[in-house]
C-alpha cells in the first residue's frame, strides 16, 4: 500500500538534477545575453537617472508648485490640491524629501512604461479572442506569483539596481491597464460600432474615433490601478536596490524602528492617495458628456 501512503514523487536526486538543469540553463542564458540586455535597457536607466536628478536638483518650492499645478489640472479640486501641498510640506519637514522624489521618479516612469506597453496589448486582446485567450493566463500569473519569485531571474539577468527594480514594478503593475483597456473596448456599444461601419470607417478610424474614446474611462481606471500597484511595489523593489521610500521601511523592519517605518509608510500612503484622487477625478471628468440633464 506504499502507493497510497507515499506520493509517487520524483526521487530526490532526479529532482535536484532537474532544478540544476534549469538553473544552469538560465545562468548560461544570462551570461550569454545579460550584457546585451543591459545595453538594451541603458537608455531607460539614463532617462530614469535624469528624471530623478531633475526632481532632486529643482528647488523644493518649485517642485511643490509644479505638483500643485498638476493636481489642480487633473483633479480640479481645491481640497485635493491643498492636501497635496500640505502632504509634501510635512514629508519635507520630516526629512523624507529625497526618498520621496526618488519614489516619485520611479513611479512616474514605471507608469509611463506600463501605459506604453499595456494599452497596445489591451487593444490587441480586444481585437482577437485568440490573443485574449493566450494573454489572460499570463496576466493571472503576473498578478498572483509572489513578487520575490520573479525578482530572482530579473536579478540574475540584470543584477541589482534601478532597471531590474523598474522591471519588477512593471511586471507587477501592468496587468490592470491591459485588462481594463481590453474590457473597455469590448464594452463599447455594438450599435455605435455598427454605425461606424455603416459610414465606411476603416479599422483604424473605428479604433481612434469610437473604440478608444468610449473605452477611455475604463482605460483610466486601469491607469489608476497601475499607479496604486506600482506604489505598493516600492518596498519590495527597494530590496534589489531601488532608492526611495522603500529603503527606510526595510531598515525599520530589520531593526524594529517603529517610528521610521510608520513615517515612510505614511509617506507612501500620501503619494498613493494624491495619485488616486487626481486620476479618479480626471477619469470622471472624461465621462462628463454622459451626464443627463433630464
Amino acid at each position: 500500500m506504499d502507493f497510497f501512503s507515499e506520493f509517487p514523487a520524483l526521487s530526490r536526486r532526479d529532482n535536484s538534477a532537474l532544478r540544476r538543469f534549469i538553473d544552469n540553463g538560465f545562468r548560461d542564458f544570462s551570461r550569454e545575453y545579460g550584457e546585451a540586455l543591459e545595453n538594451f535597457f541603458d537608455p531607460l536607466l539614463q532617462f530614469l537617472i535624469a528624471f530623478e536628478q531633475l526632481l532632486l536638483a529643482t528647488p523644493w518650492p518649485i517642485v511643490i508648485l509644479v505638483i500643485a499645478g498638476l493636481t489642480w489640472a487633473g483633479g480640479r479640486s481645491m481640497a485635493i490640491t491643498v492636501g497635496a501641498i500640505l502632504s509634501f510640506l510635512v514629508i519635507g519637514y520630516l526629512g523624507m524629501w529625497e526618498n520621496t522624489m526618488s519614489t516619485l521618479a520611479i513611479i512616474s516612469v514605471a507608469t509611463l512604461i506600463c501605459i506604453a506597453i499595456g494599452i497596445p496589448i489591451g487593444i490587441l486582446m480586444a481585437r482577437s479572442d485568440r490573443a485574449q485567450g493566450m494573454i489572460t493566463p499570463v496576466l493571472d500569473v503576473m498578478q498572483t506569483i509572489p513578487s520575490f519569485v520573479y525578482l530572482i531571474p530579473v536579478v540574475m539577468l540584470l543584477g541589482i539596481g534601478k532597471v531590474p527594480g523598474m522591471i519588477a514594478v512593471c511586471i507587477y503593475a501592468v496587468p490592470p491597464i491591459i485588462r481594463l483597456t481590453n474590457l473597455g473596448i469590448r464594452l463599447v456599444d455594438r450599435e455605435v460600432l455598427e454605425a461606424a461601419d455603416a459610414f465606411g470607417s476603416s479599422t483604424y478610424q473605428r479604433l481612434m474615433d469610437v473604440q478608444i474614446p468610449l473605452a477611455l474611462p475604463n482605460i483610466f481606471a486601469g491607469v489608476n490601478q497601475t499607479i496604486m500597484m506600482a506604489l505598493s511595489m516600492v518596498v519590495i523593489a527597494s530590496m534589489i536596490g531601488v532608492k526611495g521610500l522603500g529603503i527606510p521601511v526595510l531598515q525599520a523592519i530589520s531593526n524594529q524602528y517603529l517610528a521610521l517605518g510608520l513615517m515612510n509608510g505614511l509617506a507612501i500612503v500620501a503619494l498613493a492617495i494624491i495619485f488616486d484622487r487626481v486620476t479618479q477625478r480626471f477619469g470622471k471628468r472624461l465621462q462628463k458628456h454622459q451626464e443627463q440633464s433630464h
Binding site: 455603416a198 459610414f199 465606411g200 469610437v210 458628456h289 440633464s293
Partner: protein, 353 residues
C-alpha cells in the same frame, strides 16, 4: 440610368454553424421549421427578390423576427448573405473588396438606426459631421455642411450639446442629419422612428416626407408599424418568416391583400383615412357629373365632399384636371368594407389561373 436603384436577387441568409451546408438543404426544398429542427440552422431570409425604384420610399414591413433588420443590413453588407445577389445602381455589392465596400458606404449609402447609435462623446455638430470626417473632408467644409443639415432638421442652436442631453426625438434628428450630410443617394432607415413616442414619431414622419420632396433619395424604411408604413411608403413589401409575401402600392395592399396574413394585418386600419378614391373609382363615362375631386382624396375626405354637396356621385380628376373616373356613394361603401377571406382566396385563384 436605370429606374431600379437596388435589386435583390434570390437572397438567402442562414444563421448557424455551417450555413453553406444548410443552404444545400434549403435549395433541396427544406422549409424553415424543418431546417431548425433537423439541421439546427435558422433560415433568416428565404429567397428574397425585390427591386427598389430610384428616388422612391420603399417600406419593408414585418413583425419582429421576420428578418427585416437582417434584410436592410444586406444592402450595405453589414451582414454577409449565404447566397444571392445584391445589385446597387448596377454594381454587385457582394463582389466588392473591402476598399470598394468602404467607398460605397462612405458615398452611396447612409444609415439611420433604431436606437440612434450616436457617438456619446461628441457634440451634435461633430456627430453630424462624422460621415464627412471619415471621408477626410476638410474641417471648414464639414462645418458648413453639418450646420446646413442641423438647421434643416430643426436643431439650430443645439450644435454644441452632447447627445445624452437631448430627448429621443432630437437625438434621432441628429441621426437623420448625420445620414443626410454625406449626400448619399440611398438612405437606409432601420426602424428609425420606432423608439419614439407616437406624437414625436408622426412629427418625424412629417419631417422625412417633407425632406424627401426636396432631396429625392432612394429610401429603404424598415418598420413594424403598419400605420407608419401606409403613411410614408410609396411601395410596401411585407415580410414574414424571411419571405416577401407582397410588394405593392399601399392602396393595392389594402384592396387586394395577397393572403390572409396580410389581410389580418390590415384589419385594424382605418381604411377611410388611408384609401384614396383612385383605388376604388369606376371608369369614366361621358354622362358622369357632380363635384370634382382629385384621385389622391381619401375616402374620408370624399365622404365630406359628398355631404357638403348633398350628392351621391362625383368625378375624379388627375393633376391636369382631366376626368379619369367617377365615384358613387356605393363605391365608397364598398371601399370601406374589408375583403372577406373568401374574396381573397377567389382573387388569388384567379391570379393562379
Amino acid at each position: 440610368m436605370s429606374d431600379t436603384m437596388i435589386s435583390i436577387r434570390n437572397l438567402y441568409k442562414i444563421f448557424g454553424p455551417n450555413p453553406k451546408k444548410a443552404m444545400e438543404a434549403v435549395a433541396a426544398g427544406v422549409g424553415k421549421d424543418e431546417l431548425l429542427e433537423k439541421n439546427g440552422h435558422v433560415l433568416g431570409l428565404n429567397n428574397i427578390n425585390l427591386d427598389m425604384k430610384r428616388n422612391e420610399l420603399q417600406v419593408v414591413m414585418g413583425l419582429s423576427g421576420s428578418g427585416k433588420s437582417t434584410l436592410i443590413r444586406h444592402i450595405n453588407r453589414l451582414i454577409e448573405p449565404t447566397a444571392g445577389e445584391m445589385i446597387i445602381d448596377g454594381d454587385n455589392v457582394l463582389a466588392m473588396d473591402q476598399k470598394s465596400l468602404r467607398e460605397l458606404r462612405r458615398h452611396k449609402i447612409s444609415m439611420v438606426f433604431q436606437r440612434f447609435a450616436l457617438l456619446p462623446h461628441r457634440s451634435v455638430i461633430d456627430n453630424v459631421g462624422y460621415g464627412l470626417q471619415i471621408q477626410n473632408v476638410g474641417k471648414k467644409e464639414i462645418k458648413e455642411r453639418s450646420e446646413r443639415w442641423i438647421e434643416r432638421v430643426g436643431l439650430a442652436g443645439y450644435e454644441d450639446y452632447y447627445p445624452a442631453k437631448l430627448s429621443g426625438g432630437m437625438q434621432q434628428r441628429v441621426g437623420l442629419a448625420r445620414a443626410l450630410t454625406t449626400d448619399a443617394e440611398i438612405l437606409l432607415m432601420d426602424e428609425a422612428f420606432s423608439a419614439l413616442d407616437p406624437l414625436i414619431r408622426t412629427e418625424m414622419q412629417d419631417i422625412l416626407l417633407d425632406l424627401q420632396e426636396e432631396i429625392q433619395k432612394t429610401i429603404v424604411f424598415i418598420t413594424h408599424d403598419l400605420d407608419e408604413a401606409l403613411r410614408i411608403g410609396d411601395t410596401i413589401a411585407i415580410l414574414k418568416d424571411g419571405m416577401i409575401i407582397q410588394n405593392d402600392d399601399p392602396q393595392n395592399i389594402l384592396m387586394q391583400p395577397a393572403d390572409e396574413y396580410v389581410a389580418d394585418f390590415m384589419k385594424d386600419i382605418n381604411r377611410a383615412r388611408v384609401l384614396r378614391v383612385r383605388a376604388i373609382m369606376e371608369p369614366i363615362d361621358p354622362e358622369a357629373d357632380g363635384p370634382e375631386m382629385h384621385g389622391s382624396t381619401t375616402l374620408e375626405q370624399a365622404l365630406q365632399i359628398f355631404a357638403e354637396h348633398s350628392t351621391d356621385h362625383a368625378v375624379i380628376v388627375n393633376k391636369r384636371k382631366e376626368k379619369v373616373g367617377k365615384l358613387t356613394i356605393e363605391d365608397l361603401i364598398r371601399g370601406m368594407k374589408r375583403p372577406t377571406l373568401q374574396e381573397i382566396r377567389d382573387a388569388n385563384d384567379q391570379q393562379v389561373a
